[in-house]
């Protein structure tokens, strides 16, 4: 972790697509993107490219986004727009998120420590968002978080994930175990209408499902107040109060919730550890936005609590 940014980094590309064999290298694309890249072939992961740690090294050295990095990122963005069926000249809406090298390590989630930009459209805006993520990685909040966890007080190498924005009705988080009760036999889902920001901020009361892993059935369902929700705006996003009609309705059908639970248990089985999954509910089912190891379990996984 935190490998030195020496001359050899310059040989690495400034931009890598998710799914590219080199994109599983956490030192190059960060933990989050490496994980998603490994899952891209088998799971519904939105198309994305990474602006790599090599590009970050150049940014750190010069204090700005170097022209060759900007050109490479802009070209990748145009390609992403074309792949999304949009006019490359006008662009396509994307989410711009950090993917730090030591982020998503099993000890620290880094959730919310770096700025995220949703619904960014246009080359200039995307480049500005990339620079914004890098700035926030060197900001006081992120450094404090690192210090508190003994990760050193120098910022780690930070890659940036530029992801096609999933147009979604609802989004949420699923834990393949119950992180509060430390119950390994249950998937716990929190979801709300719109984009995930209001939910991630943690200050709303979401809808909740508890799903039994063994039988893949809903054990409990609570419709939360979902006081606020995040929707796209002309540029970026906006938090609005949730219309009464939506507050009174569950943001996922039970069928959707079971699909999410199935995705979480499948990832847990494949990766060999409990996972914390961020998802968006798109037209044809849940889409995987992020997959991290569960970092808050009180005790190590107890085999006796696992499903057969």
């Amino acid at each position: 972790m935190g490998r030195a940014l020496d001359e050899t980094s310059f040989a690495a590309p400034a931009v890598l697509w998710l799914g590219d064999p080199r994109s599983t290298e956490a030192g190059l694309v960060g933990g989050k993107a490496a994980q998603l890249s490994a899952l891209a072939a088998t799971h519904p992961v939105p198309e994305a490219f990474c602006v790599t740690t090599a590009a970050y090294a150049a940014y750190e050295r010069t204090g700005g986004v170097p022209p060759d990095v900007a050109r490479a990122a802009a070209a990748a963005y145009r390609e992403l727009a074309a792949r999304s069926g949009d006019d490359p000249a006008r662009g396509t809406p994307v989410a711009v998120r950090s993917s730090a090298v030591d982020e998503d390590g099993t000890g620290s989630s880094f959730a919310g420590q770096h700025d995220t930009y949703l619904n960014v459209t246009g080359e200039d805006a995307v480049l500005a968002a990339v620079a914004g993520v890098w700035r926030s990685a060197r900001g006081e909040a992120a450094l404090g978080y690192r210090r508190d966890r003994g990760l050193g007080d120098a910022p780690a190498a930070v890659a940036v994930l530029v992801q096609r924005l999933v147009s979604c009705d609802a989004s949420g988080v699923a834990f393949s175990v119950d992180p509060v009760a430390s119950d390994l036999g249950r998937v716990v889902i929190s979801a709300s209408w719109g984009l995930g920001e209001s939910l991630m901020a943690g200050d709303i009361d979401p809808d909740r499902w508890v799903v039994d892993k063994a039988s893949l059935s809903v054990i409990a369902r609570t419709v939360g107040a979902k006081q606020r929700m995040t929707i796209t705006d002309d540029a970026g996003t906006r938090q609005v109060s949730t219309p009464t009609f939506l507050r009174q309705r569950a943001s996922l059908s039970d069928e959707d919730a079971l699909a999410v639970a199935g995705m979480a248990t499948g990832l847990e089985a494949r990766l060999g550890h409990p996972v914390d999954v961020e998802f968006a509910l798109a037209d044809d089912g849940p889409v995987l936005l992020q997959c991290r190891p569960v970092t808050t379990l009180a005790a190590p996984a107890d085999a006796s609590g696992s499903p057969p």
Partner: protein
């Protein structure tokens, strides 16, 4: 879910502290016949009955309106009903609550809304497949009965049958009214949540500009204007005649036949309405003077044509709908679908608000009036009444008893000894005609009256509720009755207690409208917007505070009337 309140029993918690009728103005006697009324709260119904009502009209209101409202409690879990009283010849409302006052809005929007859910699923279909056929069937019942040819016994039976029919018609009335109110409030709920800070006027823009019978009848007057101006010399006769004499003069005018034919067609289609809701009010078919007055105003404004407004209004609506959809598109699919649904229901509701009024309040009343008029003529000929118009001073029980006595040929029956009673009631009408009566009677209601915003104390400015956007200046024309409103000249600001449907064509003549009651979704609001007429409602005491000839500026968006110069 168990109802949280008892529908079989009014809430005892609503009873205000007993005052024993204290606080009545010294010039007025205690008005009630039921001593319990002394401790009840009453509010004058200025919206529907700004003028005194006769004994017959009030009995008809009890028979129809009070009955219709009462049925909504058991049938639709309405948390309240209204009892009517006639105090000093005016109509007062007493609300009977079936829950604690603070729970009314919640129950209204949960239990009652749920009861209306099947109708609100498709209001258009509910109207065309259920309500309208039943109303048409009732109208057919009246249309096929030959009043003049009927014997006295048949007429008495027809009166009974008519009164039974009309009760069901008024049950439908409140089904429509409540469904319309729910459709609007559901649309407003979602609209105001998606467009934070929006006004009801903003929301109304999305549901305005559709055809309805009231607007259609108003615009038809302008088609008559076109006919009049296309005939050489005929428009001059219309312009130069007193409306009451215009018909006779037109009949004597060579070349006026096409206008007379068009007028007949107008009256056949729209004439079963009167200028106020009363069994004593002549319909336009009986006396077309109001139509001829409107025609005269229209002829005087050759450049004006409210029909153009409708196209603009519809275009503005479509633009507003598109803008709204752009914003709503940011929300999840279930909300987008619900927004479209609620908007559609509100659009239908605005039309039904006018159409039910046209058919029920006006046409059905006209049908019952015809029965009453026929009977009144026979009672007068039998000597039971001085003249047919005296029937206005009988209640329904007396009227039915008189009809039966007449049918049975019992000339000396006391049911036909009506002259003294009628004289006393006529004298009462006379006595109170110009007496000021209080707006509220009894202990204060737990919920403040709707019009409580009222006139602001600030000098020269009256505040109300913006009903139709736009700013206009003009001289005040105060009209407490439709007759007074006929004095309205183009460019004047019409100041009224409230306006009913047949006032509609005046909206094309007025520069702006100010009323004491009403709101965004009132009939006045709907039609004022159709005419793009700046309008402010809920200006308490406007007809007293504003004087004829004063120059005022009306801001229909801000809901403000500014006095620029006294009259």
């Amino acid at each position: 879910m168990k109802q949280p309140y008892r529908r079989d029993q009014p809430s005892p918690g609503h009873q205000p502290p007993a005052t024993g009728g204290a606080g009545l103005p010294p010039h007025l006697p205690a008005p009630w016949t039921d001593p319990a009324d002394a401790d009840r709260s009453f509010e004058r119904d200025l919206t529907h009955f700004p003028q005194p009502v006769t004994t017959l009209d009030f009995a008809f209101l009890k028979h129809t309106v009070e009955h219709g409202l009462a049925t909504t409690v058991p049938r639709f879990a309405a948390p309240f009903r209204v009892e009517l009283r006639r105090f000093w010849t005016r109509v007062y409302n007493h609300e009977v609550l079936y829950c604690e006052p603070q729970d009314v809005p919640r129950l209204w929007s949960t239990a009652t809304r749920e009861a209306f859910a099947p109708m609100l699923a498709d209001l258009e279909r509910q109207w065309s497949d259920a309500w309208l056929p039943e109303l048409r069937s009732a109208q057919a019942f009246w249309a096929v009965f030959d009043l003049a040819a009927a014997g006295d016994a048949d007429l008495a039976a027809h009166l009974d049958a008519s009164l039974a029919r009309v009760r069901r018609v008024w049950e439908i009335h409140f089904e429509v009214v409540y469904a319309v109110a729910h459709a609007w409030s559901m649309f407003w709920e979602t609209y105001s949540e998606v467009f934070e800070g929006a006004t009801q006027l903003d929301a109304a823009a999305l549901v305005s500009g559709f055809d309805n019978l009231t607007a259609e009848a108003g615009l038809a007057v302008w088609r008559l204007r076109d006919v009049a101006t296309s005939l050489p010399g005929v428009a001059d006769v219309v312009a130069a005649s007193e409306p009451a004499e215009a018909l006779a003069r037109l009949r004597a005018t060579p070349g006026a036949e096409p206008l007379l034919a068009a007028l007949d067609a107008y009256l056949a289609r729209y004439g079963r309405r009167a200028t106020r809701l009363s069994l004593g009010a002549k319909t336009l078919l009986e006396d077309p003077t109001p139509v001829l007055a409107q025609l005269r105003d229209a002829v005087a404004q050759p450049e004006s044509d409210p029909r153009r407004h409708r196209e603009r209004l519809a275009a503005e609506r479509e633009a507003a709908v598109l803008r709204a959809r752009e914003r709503v598109a940011r929300y999840p699919r279930p909300l987008r679908a619900e927004f479209e649904h609620r908007m559609r229901q509100a659009q239908v509701a605005v039309r039904l608000k006018e159409d039910h009024n046209f058919i029920i309040d006006h046409e059905t009343t006209a049908a019952v009036r015809a029965v009453v008029v026929e009977l009144a003529g026979r009672l007068a000929r039998a000597g039971a009444l001085h003249g047919p118009e005296d029937v206005a001073h009988l209640d329904l029980r007396e009227l039915r008893a008189a009809a039966e006595a007449l049918a049975a040929g019992r000339k000396d029956d006391e049911a036909l000894d009506l002259r003294d009673r009628v004289a006393a009631r006529a004298a009462e009408m006379e006595r109170y005609a110009d007496v000021a009566v209080p707006t509220t009677v009894g202990p204060p209601r737990p919920v403040p009256p709707q019009a409580a915003r009222g006139a602001a104390p600030s000098a020269g400015t009256l505040e109300g509720v913006g009903m139709s956007a736009g700013v206009a200046r003009g001289r005040v024309r105060v009209a407490r009755t439709f007759d007074e409103a006929r004095a309205l000249r183009p460019g004047e600001v019409l100041v009224a207690t409230s306006t009913s449907q047949p006032w509609t064509p005046l909206f094309a003549t007025a520069a702006a409208l100010v009323t004491e009651v009403g709101g965004v979704l009132s009939h006045m609001g709907v039609i004022a917007r159709e005419y793009r007429l700046p309008a402010v409602a809920g200006v308490t005491g406007a007809t007293e505070l504003l004087e004829d000839g004063a120059l005022v500026e009306v801001d229909g968006l801000a809901g403000v009337v500014r006095v620029l110069a006294e009259g």
